[in-house]
Subunit: 368 residues, 2 copies
Amino acid sequence: MNGGGPAGAMNGGGPAGKVTIAGLAERLGISKASASYALNGQPGVSGPTRARVLALAAELGWYPSSSARALSQSRSGAVGIVLARSPEQLGSESFYMTVLAGIEAVLSEHDMNLMLRMVAPTEAPAPGRDLDVYRRWAGERRVDGVIVFDLFGDDSRPQLLSRLRLPHVMVGAAEDAQPTPFGANTTVDQGADAATLVEALHRGGHRHIAYVSGPLGLTHEAARRAGIHAHAHHLGMTTVFSASDYTADDGGKATTAVVAGLAVGSPDFPTAIVYGNDLMAIGGLRALKRRGIAVPGNVSIVSWDDSILCRLSSPGVAALARNTMELGRLSAALLLDTIAGHQRASVAMPAGVLHSRESLAGVVRQHP
Amino acid sequence: MNGGGPAGAMNGGGPAGKVTIAGLAERLGISKASASYALNGQPGVSGPTRARVLALAAELGWYPSSSARALSQSRSGAVGIVLARSPEQLGSESFYMTVLAGIEAVLSEHDMNLMLRMVAPTEAPAPGRDLDVYRRWAGERRVDGVIVFDLFGDDSRPQLLSRLRLPHVMVGAAEDAQPTPFGANTTVDQGADAATLVEALHRGGHRHIAYVSGPLGLTHEAARRAGIHAHAHHLGMTTVFSASDYTADDGGKATTAVVAGLAVGSPDFPTAIVYGNDLMAIGGLRALKRRGIAVPGNVSIVSWDDSILCRLSSPGVAALARNTMELGRLSAALLLDTIAGHQRASVAMPAGVLHSRESLAGVVRQHP
DNA sequence: CTGAAAGCGCTTACAG
DNA sequence: CTGAAAGCGCTTACAG
């Protein structure tokens, strides 16, 4: 009653959308507390009263003010993601949008919102503008947690986020990654995926293969390279590596570098090239065509990421299909758990499956 | 002093990140109001006091609580976007991520945040799940405005958003679209872009062309179709249309339908096909190849959207390059204006530029 | 220029 | 089961 004077009357009688919990309570002749308990499914109100509150709220289209609730509960109801990649890469690699879709699906199931920020690409070893965003989000308590992509060696983000006490999940961390306080990992077994690729090539008779990776500063690229090396060696195969930057153009250049000066069919000429993503694979394919090197006649190619690019290219590019949306779902679920205080150290992503396409063929045995 | 008892002491002495404006004021021996004025660049504090406040805030890493500020200012500091497209389409068409990047760039310059939601795709004529999101966001006052994509005829979103009093910008509306209350449009002159495409084809000697569009329920597709028809007619050309759904597979099917039963070179056989997006163009290219129809030997193809797909395909697919990031920037700037109450009805997007590639060639003149 | 106070719209112990 | 009150952390008239 008191303090509810003119403002309360306005709220009660105003246009839709201005309803407050005080307005609901006033119309029903109950206290705000009772209305709150009813609306939040908490004990403390009788069944009939609860029903009346819910009915009126639905009728008036009442929703709790997110800021009032956030202020009183110290929870924003939002999860943040900072992407530190160029718009070109974000647009052309379906990975990001797909994992975002998976994340969003889980968040919205739990009435959480996704806050997205894009900053200038981070050069792998140097900390980027994203750190400022985390500091600010934490300070403003604008998000309840964050999901982090593209970990690199000696990455300063986990420590920063722990210090900020901001729950975080690192997507695609190494199997043996140690979670930081307030942190957890969705891990990808790059070794297992490398084995899948290498074994398929070995089965096809390939004995000398190349891997054109993304930047080696990224932990998952280092892990892939090590995995390829280990499994190839185990099977008696030899390897050659070249690092690139995930773009089609540079993937083409790296490809040229790998085969430069080598005669097709010579022992040093790799009979298969594995690429760290789809763009580089397509760029490599073009570079090979331009040099008159037949795919898969002279060299087979395989991409570590599947996408529509691989499917629509000609020849179609064989690729390791990973359930990227599931990676997003797992990461979001893990973050929600971490925010709730149930800390699970890590969740593993399902292994990839090789989709064979025209670009992958067996080697024609050479007579000695 | 009073009320600052134990809680105030905790704030003052607690770990970093728990600082409040009351804590700052207490340490400096001034009132919260003075601290607030200093922090917000408002008049009402002396220069030296202001400097001391700013210095302490920086030292302690203080940021205003977003929820407290939102509650007292009735502004959330966030802009919302609901994408009602399949993850596959969002991932493979670079349009969305690119326009998002443009939007985000402007928002973050203005210290605004982007809230992203993805819902099940909307069937053009039927209202989708996105309406519920808007109602909820408006009710919770979680966003200060929204940016809307993929308008269709008789779209119920503008009216709903007006009724909710939620500022909104419709991206890529028709030139003559009327803004609703609280609304504004970024318009695209589809007629001008259609003219660019049709005239290039006319110059190449094409006289009978096809347009494989996206769903006709979308206003911009209806406008494109009308634009192509009008300009072709004006130049004495004839046209044939087929509607598809923006996917590569269906684009292939639509292509097959357009040429079904027609002998290459016959008068009814279109010598050029324009596609509403890059995926359908690539799908069309594959379908044509499969039927032994040479591109550009027998038929030229052009995409209305440029992307890496067009660039990396072989043959490269000619495409209308539009400044998608700029479309995002313009839309975000327009929304911020609308939120601020300076209503500009609409802002026009710059016209597209045709990027010619191998898929586009002139017609070999037939002797009668 | 500065301080005490009210208010934004919720939630949550705490008494009845 | 219900109500009055304090508190979340800001902003903003309103007096001095």
